[in-house]
């Protein structure tokens, strides 16, 4: 529902995400850093070290924040904090106000930078004293305001992505970096002869050491607090939350950002000192150090380069202003204006009007913010440097810190504590940072700053309680954070939050456990009707979208479409739907207006959550068990099938045995009957023949029975080999001797001249049985007219191979795989009477394998077969 799939793949590249986060670098980085580097040295750096330290933590922190925000359709940091503390309306409004107070000065800083850099470029004078309509900054502000107002408000669902803005911000990040690097290289290597040259020259100037050193332990505190300040800023600044959380497309883009963003910052900052020093050397003390990047090329007549620098700064300003005002306007409309002003009006109007009204509210907000920033700029910008304004902005935003960071890890934080903490922190900030310069610019007097209110020295705004070694921003940061945090902790512990806060606390902090629960994680008790909720949704989403959404919901939870009563899941679901358009606080209010909620104790909340968790894990267990069961059943089925198969095999075997026995028996019986019934009609040679047949068949029968018993014993492992050391050559010769007469009868020559002596251990009787069988087979298959059988042996490594080769037609391909199976008789034998039992090769195989050997047959291309068996030498 939320994201539109972008057809262009490159806009979804993680680099776009990483670059958009560089919206952190604004005109402040462009101009302000150089100013500080030139005046006070290292203190321009901590603003970037904070993010560098923070970003590796993003792998855990930002991932969690992004996940929670996506699940709850959070569209701003005000949404995030207010939701965390129980969807608290006032807290959301407070965060919005603080953000506006913090960012408006920041925007005015950008306007100031534009104005001043423009004036330097065009060589016009400072126009602040003039009529507002002669101030070019005014027109820049108006144009910027109009542009931002329309560019950023195309959609009403604020949790939807603004791809266009993000991509432009990414592009602008490239532009500003490239141009800054160009000027850096220009100053360092063109205006001077490299870094060594600049250093050599600048180090000779007076007071140089303080530019490259800490200057004492106290500045270490300033340094530390500035780092902590910028650490918080990278999380809390509305524009940072917008680009890093709300506009995040995929969590895994973090993988690139974590190393890329610090790299970007490093590149940006590298040349700052050299530009600063170059400026000091070439332009002296009178020029405004902040604009060295412009002044240096201008001084050398390089107007084109100066223009590039200006454009770089300008692009930095645009992306900052557009993204910030987008973020702020969302907060203003969703967390301040709608909940406190328009809600009843919206409930009565129709969806289209509501959408337009929301858009209008946002546009007016953006416009007003920029105009306000312009007014701030006109009132206060003379007194304050870019750098100073930026730090004030950061300290104000930092007041959101304790609620935000504790809210991620501590379940006990409460909404009340956040509110009080933020207010107190802001008061301290106001007193120590804002009040002094306000009074100074309005009354031109420095009494307040130097002597404290009514002369009370301990309450001097820049050195409360005598802490006087900190710079004003660090000082303000220290005290405001101290009291903000203490208040937050104390109030959280002293006053219990309500169950709603605790529900969300659980969801946020134990996010991993509950993410699977989704809508189920929301605990609610009471009475609600679907029709009422539907009405509310219709007002903002229109009837069609509402129908579709509810359809999805009922299908997801397997509920009938005409369900009347709404449960906690539907309420949560509906609230989320509305959050995009009007913010979570307003969504909650609208929904709660149409439902009757019952008080539910904290204990009950936790119990229900536990039960939901248990149910889900129970379901998972059941699923696993059922999977195991299916696996077992399959295994049993397989085993059963195997048994059935083996059984059938046994049956087949017995059938074949029976057949093999009955055949010679039949022959014996028939011949015997004929002889008995003969009344002297049979010629005596025929009688001899029949008697021979009887003999032959009897032998055959007894051989068959022996083989079968042998085979049976071998296969059931009941035979043990009688292995002794024998000479293989002698055994083979013995075998051949006993078969010689058959060979001679059939004109078959057996060549065993190549046999070598081998002493090894084997069961001689059995091996002779094997060789006999092989030679018998060879005699069956060899060439009828000129039968030749070769027997050879050889030693191959750890084994002896014996080959029996014949010169017949070879084994037919269809037989080759089955020839060692029991009872397999080839169809291509020489003799008409099948002399073998069909078991010979099967028995041989058993014998050889019992010896831990291997037996197989190879065809020698159309000219015979070679039976090979090998036996291990050391048995």
């Amino acid at each position: 529902m939320a994201e539109k799939k972008s057809e262009n793949k490159w806009v979804n590249h993680p680099l776009v995400y990483s670059l958009s986060i560089a919206v952190y670098c604004t005109a402040w980085t462009y101009y302000g850093s150089v100013g500080i580097a030139a005046e006070s040295g290292i203190s321009f750096l901590p603003i970037y070290l904070g993010p560098v330290i923070a970003v590796p933590l993003w792998i855990i922190a930002m991932r969690k924040i992004i996940r929670i925000s996506k699940q709850n359709k959070i569209s701003s940091i005000a949404d995030f904090i207010s939701l965390r503390y129980g969807n608290h309306r006032f807290l959301g409004a407070l965060v919005t106000i603080i953000s506006v107070l913090g960012i408006v000065p920041y925007i005015s800083l950008q306007l100031k930078a534009i104005s001043e850099s423009f004036e330097i470029l065009t060589n016009t004078s400072h126009s602040l004293t003039h009529n507002i309509f002669y101030d070019t900054t005014f027109y820049i502000a108006v144009i910027l305001a109009l542009f931002a107002a329309f560019y950023g408000t195309q959609k009403t669902d604020a949790s939807e992505k603004h791809r266009g803005i993000v991509v432009s911000a990414a592009f602008e990040s490239i532009v500003k970096l490239v141009f800054f690097l160009v000027i850096g290289v220009y100053v360092t290597f063109y205006l001077f002869d490299g870094t060594q040259d600049i250093y050599d020259r600048i180090s000779k100037t007076e007071n140089f050491e303080k530019l490259i050193s800490f200057n004492g332990l106290e500045s270490g505190f300033n340094w530390l607090f500035m780092i902590m300040l910028s650490f918080m800023a990278i999380f809390l600044l509305p524009r940072q939350f917008q680009v890093s959380v709300v506009e995040n497309l995929r969590e895994r883009h973090l993988k690139h950002t974590i190393w890329f963003f610090p790299l970007y910052l490093l590149l940006f900052n590298f040349f700052v000192i050299f530009i600063a020093w170059g400026g000091k050397l070439n332009l002296g003390e009178t020029a405004n150090a902040e604009y060295f990047a412009l002044l240096l090329p201008l001084q050398n007549g390089n107007t084109f380069l100066a223009l590039l620098v200006f454009l770089g700064g300008f692009s930095a300003v645009i992306s900052m202003v557009v993204v910030s005002t987008l973020a702020l306007s969302t907060m203003l409309s969703n967390n301040l204006i709608i909940p406190y002003g328009y809600l009843s009006k919206f409930s009565k109007a129709d969806p289209e009007k509501n959408t337009n009204n929301i858009k209008t509210i946002r546009r007016i907000s953006i416009f007003s913010l920029i105009i306000l920033a312009f007014l701030f700029y006109r009132s206060f910008s003379i007194e304050l440097s870019l750098y100073a304004i930026g730090l004030i902005s950061f300290v104000i935003i930092a007041q959101l810190g304790p609620s935000f960071f504790f809210g991620l890890v501590w379940k006990r934080g409460s909404a009340r504590a956040s509110i009080v903490g933020i207010i107190i922190g802001f008061l301290f900030t106001f007193y120590t940072l804002i009040l002094p310069f306000t009074i100074q610019s309005l009354t031109e007097s420095t009494f307040f700053v130097e002597n404290g209110p009514f002369g009370i020295a301990l309450l001097k705004p820049y050195s409360l309680l005598g802490v006087d070694f900190l710079s004003p921003p660090a000082h303000a940061f220290f005290w405001s954070m101290l009291f903000n945090t203490i208040t937050f902790l104390v109030v959280s512990i002293s006053f219990r939050g309500n169950y709603r806060e605790r529900n969300y606390a659980e969801l946020f902090i134990d996010n991993k456990n509950y993410s699977s629960l989704q809508d189920n994680a929301f605990v609610w008790k009471g009475e609600a009707y679907v029709s009422n909720i539907k009405n509310v949704l219709n007002k903002f989403l229109g009837t069609e979208r509402t129908e579709r959404a509810l359809d999805l919901f009922f299908r997801k939870y397997d509920l009938p479409k005409d369900t009347e009563k709404a449960d906690a899941r539907l309420i949560n679901f509906s609230e989320k739907l509305l959050t995009g358009s009007i913010g979570s606080a307003s969504a909650k209010i609208l929904i709660s207006n149409v439902i009757k909620e019952e008080e539910i104790s904290l204990i009950e909340v936790l119990k229900i959550l536990e039960e939901s968790k248990e149910n889900i894990s129970h379901n998972k267990n059941l699923q696993e068990k059922s999977k195991e069961l299916t696996q077992l059943t399959d295994q049993l089925k397989n085993a059963n099938n195997e048994l059935i198969f083996k059984d059938k095999q046994k049956d087949d075997f017995l059938d074949t045995v029976a057949h093999e026995i009955k055949t010679p028996l039949t022959g014996i019986r028939a011949a015997t009957e004929l002889l008995i019934d003969d009344e002297d009609e049979m010629p005596s040679e025929l009688k001899q023949k029949f008697l021979n047949n009887i003999l032959q068949d009897s032998d055959r029968l007894s051989r068959m029975i022996n083989n079968i018993l042998d085979f049976e014993k071998l296969t059931t492992d009941r035979i043990s080999l009688d292995s002794k050391t024998h000479n293989l050559k002698k055994s083979i010769e013995k075998t051949i001797e006993s078969l010689m007469h058959i060979a001679n009868q059939n004109n078959i020559s057996i060549d065993f001249s190549q046999i070598k002596d081998v002493e090894m251990r084997y069961d001689e009787d059995r091996i002779i049985q094997v060789i006999t069988n092989l030679i018998s087979n060879a005699m069956k298959f060899c060439d009828k007219a000129n039968g030749k059988i070769f027997i050879t042996n050889k030693i191959a490594g750890n084994e002896v191979e014996v080959c029996v080769t014949d010169n017949g037609k070879g084994i037919p391909m269809e037989d080759i795989n089955y020839i060692f199976d029991k009872f397999y008789q080839s169809k291509n034998q020489n003799t008409k009477k099948p002399e073998g039992s069909g078991l010979g090769l099967a028995i041989s195989k058993q014998i050889i394998e019992k010896h831990q050997g291997k037996i197989w047959v190879e065809n020698i291309k159309n000219s015979g077969a070679r039976f090979v068996f090998k036996l291990p030498l050391n048995n």
Binding site: I42, L45, L49, V52, I53, A54, V55, P56, L57, I59, I60, G194, T195, Q196, D197, I198, Y199, D200, S203, E209, I212, S213, F214, L217, G220, F221, W223, L224, I227, R252, K255, H256, I258, W259, P262, L263, L266, F270, I273, F274
Partner: protein, 64 residues
């Protein structure tokens, strides 16, 4: 990404925090320049660059 690899990045963060601050950073606060870059800056930039390289390696190897 597995827990123990995430922790590598957390430790990187903590180490950076310690290295960038007093008192460790004061070790590098000496008046000397390396190719025109004062040692203090150079060391900060080096830690910075090192952290980028370490993050890159950890993420490349372990982010599935």
């Amino acid at each position: 990404m597995k827990r123990r690899h995430e922790q590598k990045l957390v430790i990187l963060s903590i180490v950076l925090f310690l290295c960038f601050n007093v008192p460790i950073i004061l070790i590098f606060d000496i008046n000397y320049a390396f190719f025109g870059i004062p040692i203090l800056y150079f060391s900060i930039f080096s830690f910075w660059a090192l952290s980028i390289i370490i993050s890159y390696i950890v993420l490349k190897k372990h982010y599935e």
